[in-house]
Symmetry: C2
Subunit: 194 residues, 2 copies
DNA sequence: CAGAATTATGCACTCGGTGCAAATCAATGC
DNA sequence: GCATTGATTTGCACCGAGTGCATAATTCTG
C-alpha cells in the first residue's frame, strides 16, 4: 500500500532508509557520540548538507518520528472505551507500541541510549511532547473538567505512566531481553500505587 | 560560615555570582537561546574562555548545581524515619527544596524553561540523575531487596514523584504564583494513586 | 622576595546545524 | 522529443557551543 507513487518519493524513501542503516552500523561500531555526521554522510555517499535534508538532527536517526508515533498512541488511547479507567486505557495504548518494534535491534538502541547523553535528552523531550498529546484524554478519564491548558494532575499522570514504561523497557534491556516487559511495566505501576 | 578562606576563593565566588546575575539580566531581556555566551562574557567583562571556567555549559547558569542539590535531597530522604512510607518520605524530602528558592525570580526561571528547549532537556537530565540518587532509599521503603543496579520499580517510583513535582511547579508558575504548590503536588500524587 | 600553584586569556580547532545560491534532475505540458 | 517548471543535491560560508593548549598574569607559600 502506498508503495510507488513516483520515482522521486521512492528514491527518497530508499535513500533515507540507507542513511539510517549506514548510521546504525557506524553507531554500533564506534558509539553514537564518536560518530560524526560527516562520517555518516561519507559512508552513505551523500553530501553533509543533504544529510540534514533527510534528518534534522543526528538524534533523529535513532529516535524515529516522534510526532507520528505520539499521534498513533494518542489515537489508540482515544479509541479505548470511555468508561475504561485512566490506567487501563493508557496501558492498552502503550501496548500498541510493541508490535512495531523488532526486539532484535532494540537492545542495540537501548545500549545507544545508555552512553549517549544527548540521546537520552531528546528521548525525554519526546516524552514531554507526548505528555501534552495524551493529557487531554487522561484528564477526561480522571473525571477532571476540561481546560484549555492541561490540568497538572493529568500531566503528572501521563508522565508517571511514561516513567513506568521507560523503567520497564530499561530493565528489560538490562536483562538482555530475558524479563517480560509487560510484567515489568505492571509491576512498576503497582509499586507507585501501593 | 565558610565566608573568607582566602582571597582566591572570595573573588572566585564573587565573579561567578556576577556572571550569573549578568546572564540572567540578558536572558530576561532577549531570551535564553537568543543570548550568546560571547554576549554574557562581554557584559561581565570577562573573556569567553574564562566563562567556561566558571560554568561548564550555558544551561548551568540557570540550572544551579544539579549534583549538590540532588545530594541534599538524598540526604533529606535518608534522614527520614525508616518506617515512613516511600510517598511520605519523598514528599518530605522535596519540601526541603522550598526553603532555598526565592519565589520572586522563580517565575522568571520558569518562563525561561518554557521557551528554551535546551533548558528543558538539561532539566530532565538532572531528574534522571536524581532518579539514581534517590532510588536506593526508595527501594528499601518499598520493601524490595537490595540490588547493585536499582530496581525498575524504585526508579519508576522516583520518576513519578519527580513528575508530580514538575507538574506542580509548572502549574504554580502558570498561575503566576497564585496556587499553592504543595497542594498541587499532593493533588498530583492523589491523581496517580486513585 | 623568589618560586610554586592557580587563574585568565588568546588561539586554533571540532562538531552540529542553518541560509543561500547555483547546479542537477525528474515531472509535466506541448 | 523538447522546453519549462519544480524539487533535490550540493558546495560554501557562516554561527554558536565547547575543548585543548600554551602563555601571561596573579595569588599563595616558604
Amino acid at each position: 500500500m502506498a508503495s510507488a507513487p513516483n520515482l522521486r518519493e521512492r528514491t527518497r524513501r530508499a535513500v533515507r532508509a540507507e542513511i539510517a542503516a549506514t548510521a546504525m552500523r557506524l553507531f554500533e561500531e564506534q558509539g553514537f557520540d564518536a560518530t560524526t555526521v560527516d562520517q555518516i554522510a561519507a559512508a552513505a555517499s551523500i553530501s553533509r548538507r543533504s544529510f540534514f535534508h533527510y534528518f534534522g538532527t543526528k538524534e533523529d536517526l535513532v529516535l524515529g518520528d516522534t510526532e507520528a508515533l505520539g499521534e498513533s498512541v494518542r489515537a489508540a488511547l482515544e479509541a479505548r472505551p470511555a468508561e475504561e479507567s485512566a490506567w487501563t486505557a493508557i496501558r492498552a495504548a502503550f501496548m500498541t507500541l510493541r508490535s512495531t518494534e523488532d526486539s532484535a535491534d532494540d537492545l542495540l538502541l537501548a545500549r545507544l541510549h545508555h552512553d549517549a547523553p544527548s540521546l537520552r535528552a531528546k528521548h525525554l523531550e519526546k516524552h514531554l511532547r507526548w505528555q501534552e498529546l495524551l493529557a487531554p484524554d487522561i484528564q477526561r478519564r480522571l473525571g477532571l473538567p476540561e481546560t484549555e491548558t492541561p490540568d497538572p494532575r493529568a500531566r503528572a499522570f501521563v508522565a508517571a505512566a511514561l516513567a513506568c514504561l521507560d523503567a520497564a523497557l530499561n530493565a528489560w534491556c538490562e536483562s538482555g531481553g530475558e524479563l517480560d516487559p509487560v510484567r515489568l511495566f505492571d509491576d512498576a505501576i503497582e509499586a507507585i500505587r501501593a
